[in-house]
Structures are given as C-alpha cells and as structure tokens.
C-alpha cells in the first residue's frame, strides 16, 4: 500500500525523485481521509516554492484540504489531466494521480522527508 521508493511529508504528500526533479502527490492515506475528490487547485508552472508552503488545495465531497510542498524549487509541470478527472487521485494516488513536478533547488530537502517505513510508523502514531 505504501510504495517503498518514495519519500513522505508529515502533511501526507509523497515525493518521487528523478535526477534534479521531484514528482509530488498525496498519499493513499490522504486521499482515503478526504473521500471523493472533486477539484484540485494547482500552482502555476514557473512558480518558485519553498518547503512547507501551500501550493494548492484539494476539495472533496467531505472537506477542503491544503497541499503543501515537501521540497523547495520551481514548479516545472502540473498534471493537467486532474482538471477534468480529479477522481484519478482517489484511484491511483501514487501513479496517474501525481500533481506537480518540481525542479529541486536543494536536493537535501528530500533527505529530511520520511522513508516509507518511517511514514508507516508516523501513520500508526496518528491513529490515537
């Protein structure tokens, strides 16, 4: 359920690093907590973002939740398919439901994020 090749942020975003770029999405846990996702407000490509900054919002039939960036850099690409099919985040949060690609300004940001094992422990801790 929790891919081991990704890193995780305490706000439930995941990061997949490829070279100097990071792909960001929200975790299975996050989409499950949100319920049916109806809209995702994304940042503009070219925007410069800093760790922990709000970069968008996810609206579901239950609530609206903020997307925080787990890494600093420049928004290189957004997943335009989510505009018409936000439900893909529910069905495939770690795959087709990716949200943005960020050109990393500092590779060390990623090292500060949780590993899959740490994230599992973090989720277990949150259940209380």
């Amino acid at each position: 359920m929790i891919p081991t090749d990704l890193r995780y942020h305490q706000e439930h975003e995941w990061v997949r690093v490829s070279g100097a770029q990071a792909t960001v999405g929200i975790s299975y846990f996050a989409q499950d907590a949100l319920g049916d996702i109806v809209f995702i407000d994304m940042p503009k490509p070219g925007a410069v973002v800093k760790v922990g900054q709000q970069i968008g919002e996810v609206e579901s039939t239950k609530t609206t939740s903020t997307i925080y960036t787990p890494v600093s850099g420049t928004i290189a690409k957004i997943n335009a398919d989510l505009k018409d099919h936000p439900e893909v985040v529910n069905s495939d949060p770690y795959g087709k439901g990716w949200m943005v690609v960020i050109d990393l300004s500092s590779a060390s940001d990623v090292d500060k994020l949780m590993t899959a094992a740490q994230y599992v422990a973090f989720l277990a801790g949150q259940k209380h």
Partner: protein
Amino acid sequence: MTSQKQIAILGAGPGGYVAAIRAAQLGARVTVIESHALGGVCLNWGCIPSKALLSVVELGDKVKKAADRGLLVQGPVMYDLARMVARKNTVVATLVKGIATLFKAWNIEHVQGTGSLRDRQTVTVAAADGTPRDIQADAIVIATGSSWPNLPQFPIDGQQLLTSQHLLDLDCIPASLLIVGAGVEGCEFAALYSGLGTQVTIVELMAHVLPLEDDDISSTMERELKKRGVTVVTGTTVERLERSPMAITAHLKDGTQVATEKLLVSVGRGLNSRGIGLEQVGVQTGRRGEILVNERMETTVPGIYAIGDVVGTVMLAHVASAQGKVAVENIMGHQATVRYDIIPAGIFTLPEIGRVGVTEQQARERVQAAGQNPDQALTVGRFRYAGLGKAQATGDTTGLFKVIAESPSGRILGVHIVGAHAADLVHEAAMAMQVGATVGQMAEMIHAHPTLSEGMMEAAEDVEGKAIHQARKKMS
C-alpha cells in the same frame, strides 16, 4: 381643514417606488417621475434579470451531473440564450406590471419623463416630446440612482466593450469574454457565462476576487470560479486595448495578453446627481457627487430628501428601499432612521454568498484599533456544508458557514456563508444580530433536521469548539 401632503419622487427604482407606496400608505398624495421603466436598474437591468439567467445555468449544472445521481437525460446540455433572454424579459415585465398595479391601488401618479428641481417645492418634468410640466410638492425625494460609468480607457460601444446591461440581452453566446473587475457583478457574470460555455477570463486589480468579502469567502469563490473553467488573474489590470473588428487584445500590466471576443467593464458605478437641478436649489453633494444627507435622509435643503445609490452610502437595492421608507416616514411626521450596522447582502454567484456584519479582517482591525488583542477579543466558528446531511443528500457539498463573535460576550459581529441558498440562509444571523442574540443563543436554538440551516447552528457551536459533526483533528 387639513390638506393632503404632496410628495414628488424622482426615480422609480427600488428606493423611489418603495418610498412612494409607503408615503401613500401614510396618507400622502404621491407623484413619481421616472424616464425609464418602473423598478429601475435593479428590476430591469440588474438584480432580477441576472438571477433569471443564472437560475438556468444553475439548473444546467445540475443536469450535467444528473447521470451520477441516476437521472438519465438524453443528449448534452445546450443553452438557447435567445430563449433565456426572452423568458427573463417576461419575468421582468411581470414584476414591472406588479409595481404599476400597486401604484394604481395606492393612487400614485407615474409621470413619464426626466425631472429636475426648479425650486424647493417644484419639479419640472421634461416629457419625451419635450413639453415641460411643473409638479408642486410639499416635499421632494431624490432617488435617481446610479449608472454604468463611462471610463475613457474603456469606451463602451455595446458591441465589443460592454456593460452588464448589454450582457443581459445578448442573443448568442460569445466564444470568449474578458471581465475587468472581480467584484460582485464581475463574479456573477463570470459564473453565468462560464456556465453557458464561454471561455471567461476575469482580471482583478486587488490580490483576490471579491476583495471586500471575508478572506475565507473570496478564496472559496476563487476556487469555484477556477472549477468552472474561469481563468482568474489577480493583482493586475488592463493597461491598454488593441482592437480589431473581430477581437480585442487586452495588454495587462503584468505583461501578459488576453485575446477576447467581448469585454465586460465591471468597475464601479457613477452617481446620477447631475442635471437634476441640485445647484438650482442648493442641495450639496460630496466629492464623488453623492448627495449629502442626514440620518433622516434629508439633504442640506429642508424638505428635500435623497435616498438610494445617489447618496452613495451602501449601494444595494434593499438599502435604497429602507432609506426610502425612512425618508417618507420623516416627511409624514414620524421619527425614523436607517440602521446600517445590520445589512444582509447576497452575491449570486454559483454557489451563492450571503453576508451580514463585518468580515474577520474588519473585526480584527477594529479590535486592534481599540487596543485589544484580536486573538483574545474575537472568536471564529466555521462549519462546512459537507458536514450537513441535507447537503450530502442534495449534492450541495461545496461551501461553508463562518461566524465571527466578540469574546467573551458572544455578541455576533459578522456571519458569512458561501454555498447553496447562502443569501437566504444569512437572514437567521441578521435577525439574531438585530435583536442582540449571542452566538450561544444561536447555537442553543433547535434547528430542524435535515436542513442547510443546521450549518448556522454548527458554526455557532464551533465558536466554542462544540460543533457536533466536525472532527477536531486537522486532516492532511
């Protein structure tokens, strides 16, 4: 023998016509001078027509989602704008006729033409054919309203550069529309035309759409506009226009360009205080041309009153009506003033907005100005539509209730709602504020289940962190 008081009213908008009826109820003999249609801008080119058109898009939005709910409709949703406009005209005509009927019932004379003050007790009316007529009155009420401003950088031509008035009467749906100004009107037309399938771009100089609304409301509306496919551009404005017969290219201050078929100018309104003889009788106006009035709605000239948009206080139809009633009650020997601290207002975007009282930002500024810490002196409660059984059942899960209260007194300072039926729902809060009820009393009152009104109760409960259908835990 007492003679009947004669009152002349300039303008038959929501200020003037309401003042006329109330004056007649109180025993006056009333003459109303109006050059256009009874009902003014509100009824003929504003509130009512835009709602008539928006209601169709609201229905279309629902039909588009019908299949998900198990209602199968053959074929795609298509709009026939010419038919929508024709139906809108029928709605307007019915209401205009309604006013004429009321006038007849109260024996109010409607004089067609443009009136101007000749002296303190005489209004001269120029009829359409130019023949002047003098109307004598013991008191005069000026209710001439406001109009679309003509700004040099946006020369309105009714073809490419339009006012909201033009957009209510188009017979075919434009491919693209650029809206300058994301205030109430701009956002309402963005909702309407994006619903019809027009590619809409809205440009706002301030940092957010609906800059005068509470932050939670304007950020929700910005998201809703984006959800509808509207391109929202904030923090900039149109620098210049390049025009060709087929299109307009707007060059924005931020360096970008927007090509569009039509452009809606939606920035401010001009006050109709010129050419009505104010100087002739010495009625004073302010810097913006607003007629200066006291709390009884009387101008600087005794016996001459002014109400509505032309006094420039709060430019809303229902405020004009309230001011109209107050003006004529004073004329007829009663004592009346308008209470401006509680004015509910609706914004008819999709979804709607309802508001009363101050925004959270305003409340914080006031508290700070009084030397208090806003984090201690204010409490805020919120509740989302998604937490309401009724909203889930009807599919209206977008939106929120927000209550701003004084701490520890619990006095309600402001209530803001965005979501289905928000403009109707806000009146419970307005009444609570009017009678001085506390947020605790609002929370205590039993609210019927399942209704959207439960959201008001839950938001009031949330002020003390006691909302039932809301998890405390912050999610993702």
